[in-house]
């Protein structure tokens, strides 16, 4: 796995990809979410948790297939559903969407729009290379 980079999209509330992201467009579509209308494609999506519907794994894999997926996902707690969705996308399409977990304090320091890099070992770095 090589390094992955992108601009942070810091979500104010957890997002379930199922019902929350349209994999055809990459748009955030959850009507109850404060950032409805944002584009997830190519961004490093930062949120406290996955709020996971079990179908979110399928939506993540479908977004990778449709080339609308986030570049990476940074979470404050482990999320089995997103981790498996990313693993399947890698198996099927050879595209790596790292799903990394960082401590809450670290998560809170990430500023929306910041350049983030995720190393081959899953380490998170702030700032352009």
């Amino acid at each position: 796995m090589s390094e992955v980079a992108g601009r942070a999209l810091v979500l104010d509330e957890p997002l379930s990809l199922w019902g929350g992201m349209d994999p055809a467009t990459g748009e955030l579509i959850d009507a109850r979410h404060p950032q409805r209308g944002a584009t997830l494609t190519g961004r490093v999506v930062v949120m406290p948790s996955g709020r996971g519907s079990s179908s979110s794994a399928s939506v993540l894999a479908e977004a990778v297939r449709a080339r609308t997926a986030p570049a990476a996902i940074v979470l404050g707690e482990p999320d089995l559903i997103l981790a498996v969705g990313a693993a399947v996308a890698e198996e099927l399409y050879g595209v790596v969407v790292p799903v990394v977990v960082v401590a809450a304090a670290r998560l809170a320091e990430i500023v929306d729009g910041a350049e983030l890099r995720i190393g081959p070992d899953g380490s998170l770095h702030v700032g352009a290379r």
């Binding site: 399928s58 297939r65 969705g85 399947v88």
Partner: protein, 419 residues
């Protein structure tokens, strides 16, 4: 950590499909921090619902790679009713892809139950303490809480991977300590006694449980003991809609909670909260998004109606018919339907549509999905506005049946203590 059989799977000795499944189980173990895998004896697979071509690409990788399920495996709902395909009102191409996906999961050796309520099938019910791998949020909550089986929340892909390998990470609710209630939710003194024993309370209580507990295990205290499986089903389905609930206890009703102390595993809780009548009424009101008495449809059976629920709907209808200007759809499992031919015939004769293999908030079934649609299900009320754009009226089962006969919303004002 890996057994000889696990290694053989990874090495492709049982084919590429099984190797892929085993790689996913190993990735899952890494993501949960588990250091060992355990055997599971049953699986319930939710991956057979079409969510785009990636879901087809995945199952074809498994079937082309020669994979077969290794343990008894039931299938969750799919995108259409295979026994009554004429009920599907959507894009034919999507129906065809949905049908292909359902067919391919059957080809892996899974039993074509196509129900979200596998716990209603006597020969698919796990025993107390049995380690299983279940998908579908309401089934997960029911399996853990009501049957005392042990499963984590197995999402799409991992559910079938567990069925093919028979293995899961030893983590979370597979372990006794994680099943301890850490939160106590107590019905307050102002909740009327009659409401504590009314069906309509349970989906509302479930929505509150999901919001308060999140992924924590909570114990509900203050209900009369010995609550029915259908009521506990309603709690779990609603709770797993409003929050990531995988397990709850109801003191005096669920098997790991004969007493509150048992639910807490005899340790102090980390939190205790009261649920009063005002909170319950507010959630009840929130589940209704439509105003006025107009209805286009009544949708019952989410999760799939049990034999007891089908009989109750038929008894409540008696010799009356569904009003000609509304449709009334009851979703159930194909095996439950097959075992109740007389009740199903009575419901059909009264103008009720019986839907199997899918659900009316997932598939394009209703003539007018925007509604207003009346339901007795907290889960249907929670998801239908976003999924199919429905306006919703939430009510008790009896209110739904009376409304189906009248063709407009009929309320029973006594249920909630007059408010």
């Amino acid at each position: 950590m890996l057994s000889a059989h696990d290694r053989a799977l990874l090495d492709g000795e049982l084919g590429d499909g099984a190797a892929l499944a085993m790689r996913l189980v190993v990735r899952a173990a890494e993501a949960t921090g588990a250091t060992e895998l355990i055997d599971v004896t049953r699986a319930h697979v939710d991956s057979c619902l079409y969510h785009g071509e990636a879901t087809i690409d995945f199952v074809l990788r498994l079937t082309d790679g020669g994979a077969r399920v290794r343990i008894p495996t039931t299938l969750n709902i799919g995108a259409l009713d295979l026994l009554h395909p004429e009920l599907y009102r959507g894009d034919p191409r999507t129906a065809e892809r949905g049908r292909l996906l359902m067919d391919r999961y059957r080809a892996l050796g899974a039993r074509p139950t196509f129900t979200c309520a596998p716990y209603q099938l006597d020969d698919a019910r796990p025993r107390l303490g049995e380690q299983v791998a279940w998908g579908e949020s309401n089934a997960i909550a029911f399996g853990n809480s009501v049957l005392g089986a042990r499963t984590n929340r197995y999402g799409d892909f991992l559910d079938i991977a567990a069925a093919i390998t028979g293995r899961v990470p030893y983590a979370g609710l597979h372990r006794t300590d994680a099943r301890r209630a850490t939160l106590v939710l107590r019905l307050a003194a102002d909740v009327p006694h009659a409401l504590r024993d009314a069906d309509v309370l349970f989906p509302v209580l479930g929505i509150v449980l999901g919001r308060r507990a999140g992924s924590a295990v909570a114990a509900i205290d203050g209900l009369p003991p010995g609550q029915s499986e259908d009521r506990l089903k309603a709690i779990g389905a609603a709770a797993a809609s409003s929050g990531p609930v995988a397990m709850f206890h109801v003191v005096g009703s669920t098997p790991e909670a004969p007493t509150l102390g048992d639910a807490l595993q005899h340790q102090p809780p980390e939190g205790e909260e009261e649920i009063g009548i005002e909170v319950l009424r507010a959630v009840r009101d929130e589940l209704t998004t439509a105003s006025g008495e107009r209805l286009t449809a009544i949708s019952l059976g989410t999760p799939h109606a049990s034999a007891a629920e089908l009989a109750r709907y038929a008894d409540q209808l008696g010799d009356r018919r569904v009003h000609q200007e509304v449709e009334c759809v009851v979703s159930t499992g194909r095996e439950v339907m097959a075992r109740q031919p007389d009740i199903v015939a009575r419901l059909r004769a009264a103008g009720v549509e019986i839907l199997v293999d899918t659900c009316s908030y997932v598939a394009p079934i209703l003539r007018n999905p925007r509604g207003p649609v009346m339901t007795d299900s907290g889960k249907w009320a929670y998801y239908a506005p976003g999924n199919i754009g429905a306006e919703v009226v939430f009510g008790s089962s009896r209110e739904c049946i009376e409304s189906a006969v009248a063709g407009h919303v009929v309320r029973d004002g006594r249920l909630w203590g007059g408010a």
